[in-house]
Symmetry: C2
């Protein structure tokens, strides 16, 4: 049997989109605005769902962006947060980007992470998670956040990962609502029915 | 800014290792034996942690294997289950491998999934999860399974995903114990310390 080389690459529009925005995003709101804009652009460019994410260093330097690429790449793993982490770890050349807690990085996500992305955070080495829209905002337009711990925020904090919620929440929610209003496809785990034993 | 193309590719030994084993793994024990052997081989070849996984179709045809490639690829996302799902979705050319519940696939994992891999399963379109070693077996040798729902099995079942635990558990545990006894590196989320705000 032969197995493929799977190439993970950001959509072609991302580099052009980032041009002229600078590389420094000083405030948490600056960082969130970027990932909300990535989510918005991902809809307009029709390259995936309405979700953006990015990894920033402590000063706010953009290390790597991510957008939802599930349908574009036929890969259910490629949520925006996962794409940003894969890119950041590749660029920094280490799987623990915090390098044992010495260095501090933010993961910004335009919507609070689903069960998978939540679970990926403790392995990644990020030290802070910035969130825009809430779980319930995603659910209210039909997205499924998956089977997630009710106390997910406390679980991250107990592992030394600080969580800041509701950063530009209203703006982040607007992107979700617009996507739903425009009839964008909403895939979720409800697609799986009828277990076999 | 320029961003990389990240290539995800199974370790070079995998294709040779699979030669001569056939492509059909009829029983759940056959499927589990394969992923335990992948875990074992991943240690011997020094390409990652002691974890193997694979996707099989309903008849037991191997679609794609996976092994833990975190250290090899400098990517914290590349647990064995995630690698197998990425490969299977690429090969089948769809992000929902079950195609809306029409087709049934197994994901076999030599150890019960961590929080991230658990969260990835409902998005993947697999209809059954086969597990070898238990969470507590992994924890007993020092691995961290992450912040995972206590009722994770019930959560999968409620989404139509059947879970079969303890398939060749003793054999699966042996690989974990051997890895730990040999002093294999055990990375976990304890590496992250000291949140910043």
């Amino acid at each position: 049997m032969k197995f493929p080389v799977v190439n993970i690459q950001l959509p072609g529009w991302v580099e052009g989109f980032l041009k002229g925005r600078g590389e420094l995003f000083a405030s948490v709101e600056d960082r969130m605005q970027l990932v909300i804009d990535l989510a918005q652009q991902n809809i307009e460019q029709e390259t995936g769902g309405p979700f953006g994410a990015a990894v920033f260093d402590q000063e706010g330097r953009l290390i790597a962006p991510g957008v939802n690429m599930v349908s574009e790449s036929n890969c259910s793993v490629l949520h925006a947060e996962i794409v940003a982490l894969i890119m950041a770890q590749n660029i920094l050349d280490r799987y623990d980007i915090g390098n044992g807690g010495i260095l501090q990085y933010d993961l910004a996500a335009s919507t609070e992470p689903c069960a998978m992305c939540f679970g990926s955070i403790p392995w990644s080495g990020v030290s802070r998670l910035l969130c825009g829209a809430r779980d319930e905002d995603a659910r209210s337009v039909g997205f499924d956040e998956g089977p997630k711990l009710a106390n997910w925020e406390a679980e991250l904090r107990s592992r030394g990962i600080y969580v800041r919620r509701d950063v530009l929440r209203e703006e982040a929610v607007k992107v979700l609502r617009q996507y739903a209003a425009d009839g964008g496809p909403i895939y979720n785990s409800g697609a799986q029915k009828g277990p076999f034993q």
